[in-house]
């Protein structure tokens, strides 16, 4: 056992971090929220170039195979930089199509791997009626029971409390596949999506904590840095604890989704492992957002401070692809 990222995985994270840090993602987020997807799509192309989407696409479809650990690593960085767009939905759609195989997979997966295709995915009942960024996606896949459709269009955008998330209901479309294999592939896709959200939430939480630590170290009240107040220290210590203990759950969930499923050895199959990671990472990120907001004071309550981009995302990720209650039920499922 070596339950640590290897040098290559660390280097991959560092290079993504560096690339995203230099790409002004906050401008892209604000533009995306305003309906201008141009800068977001430019960033998308660079992510594809770095191989992010290929991580969910098998080698036979011009991808790198499903590599869940690397996927988790990259979604951590996507969260750290609050990158907008249907990132989770695209890799979940890739996992769905890869599991189904056949002509649909062959037609769509190379585009996803290369970044030409930004996809959205909507799993109805149980799930959400909305496709994230369906208006901006090149393909919106919908699973309803045992039927996979490609939506014809999407309804009006329903503003989210995170404006960088553009929700809409998929409309109509053609049936791509029908049968029990759709149900199984959708369940797999939902696990990949939940893993990606968990990793993203972890990155969001880390970014919120880092920004808050920096702020409280500089901000003075009553003549001293507010970061020297014990109440502030303890709140941030608790934030760190929650994130630090969520991280290994995310890594273990990734291992559980890897082909061969070694994670099941200790009784944590992929369903339970992903659910545990999702609830721990998302609750940690939401708590980090609450702390960041409170400790920034009124400044943290403003939209113009970039912090708001992470705060709003943390809230939305908490329920995306599995509410805390659903995840906890799944952890105890036999």
């Amino acid at each position: 056992m070596r339950f640590l990222l290897d040098d290559e995985q660390r280097e991959f994270a560092r290079s993504l971090d560096k690339m995203l840090g230099g790409a002004e993602p906050t401008a892209a987020i604000r533009a995306w929220a305003a309906g201008d997807t141009g800068p977001g799509r430019a960033l998308w192309a660079r992510l594809a170039e770095a191989g992010v989407f290929a991580l969910a696409v098998p080698e036979e479809h011009e991808g790198l195979g499903l590599l869940p650990v690397e996927l988790a690593v990259s979604f951590g960085e996507l969260g750290r930089h609050a990158v907008p767009g249907p990132l989770v939905e695209t890799v979940a759609a890739a996992a769905l199509l890869a599991r189904l195989g056949g002509p649909v997979a062959a037609a769509r997966l190379p585009g996803i791997a290369s970044g030409r295709t930004a996809a959205s995915l909507c799993l109805l009942s149980p799930g959400s009626p909305y496709a994230l960024d369906g208006d901006a996606a090149d393909a919106v896949f919908v699973v309803d029971g045992d039927t996979l459709r490609l939506a014809e269009s999407t309804g009006p955008v329903q503003p989210s409390s995170d404006p960088a998330r553009r929700l809409s209901r998929p409309v109509g479309g053609t049936v791509l596949r029908q049968g029990p294999e759709v149900v199984a592939a959708a369940a797999h896709a939902a696990e990949v999506a939940a893993l990606a959200v968990a990793a993203q939430a972890l990155g969001v939480g880390r970014a919120l904590l880092a920004q808050t630590v920096e702020y409280v170290g500089g901000r003075k009240q009553f003549g001293v840095a507010i970061g020297s107040f014990q109440a502030v220290k303890h709140r941030l210590a608790d934030t760190l604890i929650a994130l630090e203990f969520a991280e290994p759950l995310v890594h273990a969930a990734a291992l559980a989704l890897a082909p061969g499923d070694p994670g099941s050895r200790s009784g944590f199959g992929s369903g339970r492992a992903v659910a545990a990671a999702k609830v721990a990472a998302c609750e940690a990120a939401y708590a980090a957002a609450r702390s960041a907001l409170q400790l920034h004071g009124a400044l943290g309550y403003t939209e113009e401070l970039d912090l708001s981009l992470w705060i709003r995302k943390a809230r939305a990720l908490r329920t995306a692809w599995g509410t805390p209650a659903e995840c906890r039920a799944r952890v105890l499922a036999r």
């Binding site: 009626p129 009006p156 998330r165 929700l167 009553f222 939209e303 705060i311 509410t323």
Partner: protein, 398 residues
């Protein structure tokens, strides 16, 4: 000890309820943190005022009903239960007016209060400065003595309502001696000023949901006549604080807001709101949180009744208002988080979304609740006050 209302109080409640039933707009007004919404809410203040419901606790001759604290609480319960709009004039009514009643001149009261009651003039508060949040005594904006008045310079921030309001009030340093002597509370003067005066620049600031709920004010040599000083020059801190503890501790957020919100939450949980999926009655995790919101709102209502009884009996409340502040602000967030969790996938939607629940404005309420532990003295400061003044724990560097 009793919880009984008099026949007169019951009649007052019935009158308020009937009036509200007849006048509260059927569809919610747009958010008061938008230009359109602000105008609509100002119009609503006019409607309230026309039938003397805008400032019930004020004297009759300036548009009130001489209502007791208890009547005010009754009015607020009915007001929020009726789903009536938020009060765009609350900065003036809750913060400035009590100070004018206690420290203002007859001329000031006659000039300022009627237009405040009618909504003709909406007031913004201008307490904070960029370097002075919780540490209010360290204010740096200045008031310089000139012939017939004062000239204000400096910067204020987190001025709520200022994006669309007419006038503002705040503290300005009129004398640097206190600051230099390490007694920063000295030498502050309480002033009122128009937001459209020469030298005032208002820069709206978007709240976390983007709505311009507050603003930065840049003051560049703004003339204010003597008649707009409240209390004695240099005594602004004492003037501002003298009314901070007592009734204001009660009126900052009235219990009616929370009892009404808890009722709406219960209805949501019971799926009486057509939007929500039916709740499984055995889903005890959500049930327990709904129950805690109901219990918390009831506790806050009863705690306030007790305080109102204490004040009516000649008592006063001081640091106890810090208990209030922490309690309602934590309650408000928990209540709204529960609502969003009850809404499942719809909990993410902004209130403007077509699919958003018909009742409740839960998204806006949640956003609003997040400011609770920050404004009017952060909850961290309030807990320090509770520990030091109510429990008598030793003061320490924090």
């Amino acid at each position: 000890m009793d919880l009984d209302f008099t026949a007169a109080e019951d009649a007052f409640r019935a009158e308020a309820r009937a009036w509200l039933a007849a006048h509260v707009p059927a569809a919610p007004l747009p958010s008061l943190e938008t230009a359109d919404g602000f105008a609509a809410h100002r119009e609503w203040e006019r409607t309230l005022h026309a039938d003397r419901w805008s400032v019930v606790s004020w004297p009759e001759e300036i548009g009130g009903r001489d209502a007791s604290i208890l009547q005010w609480l009754i009015f607020e319960e009915e007001y929020y239960a009726a789903g009536a709009p938020g009060r765009v004039s609350q900065n003036g009514i809750n913060l400035l007016a009590p100070t004018l009643f206690e420290h203002g001149t007859d001329e000031q009261r006659a000039r300022v209060l009627p237009s405040m009651a009618s909504g003709e003039v909406i007031w913004a508060q201008a307490w904070s400065e960029p370097e002075s949040g919780s540490d209010l005594a360290s204010l740096r904006s200045t008031a310089e003595r000139v012939d017939g008045g004062w000239r204000l310079s400096g910067q204020k921030t987190w001025s709520s309502r200022a994006a669309f309001a007419d006038r503002a009030f705040g503290l300005f340093r009129s004398d640097r001696d206190g600051l230099e002597a390490g007694k920063p509370h000295r030498g502050l003067t309480y002033l009122m000023f128009p937001l459209d005066a020469d030298g005032v620049t208002v820069r709206p600031i978007g709240r976390i949901d983007g709505k311009p709920a507050f603003a930065e004010l840049f003051l560049d040599d703004v003339f204010v006549p003597d008649e707009d000083v409240i209390g004695a020059p240099g005594q602004g801190w004492q003037v501002a604080m003298s009314t901070a503890g007592n009734e204001r501790g009660l009126t900052l957020r009235s219990p009616g807001r929370f009892t009404a919100a808890a009722d709406r939450l219960t209805a949501l949980w019971r799926s009486e709101d057509s939007h929500a999926d039916p709740a499984d009655p055995a889903d005890t995790a959500l049930r327990d949180r709904v129950a805690d919101a109901v219990i918390g709102a009831r506790a806050y209502q009863l705690f306030t009744y007790a305080n109102a009884s204490r004040i009516a009996a000649g008592g006063s409340i001081g640091a106890e208002s810090s208990l209030n502040k922490v309690f309602w602000s934590d309650l408000d967030i928990a209540l709204h988080e529960t609502a969003l969790d009850l809404l499942g996938p719809y909990g993410e939607l902004a209130d403007e979304a077509e699919d958003a629940p018909a009742h409740g404005s839960w998204a806006e309420g949640y956003t609003f609740s997040l400011a609770g532990p920050i404004y009017a003295g952060t909850n961290e400061i309030q807990r320090d006050i509770i520990a030091e003044r109510l429990l008598g724990l030793p003061k320490g560097r924090r």
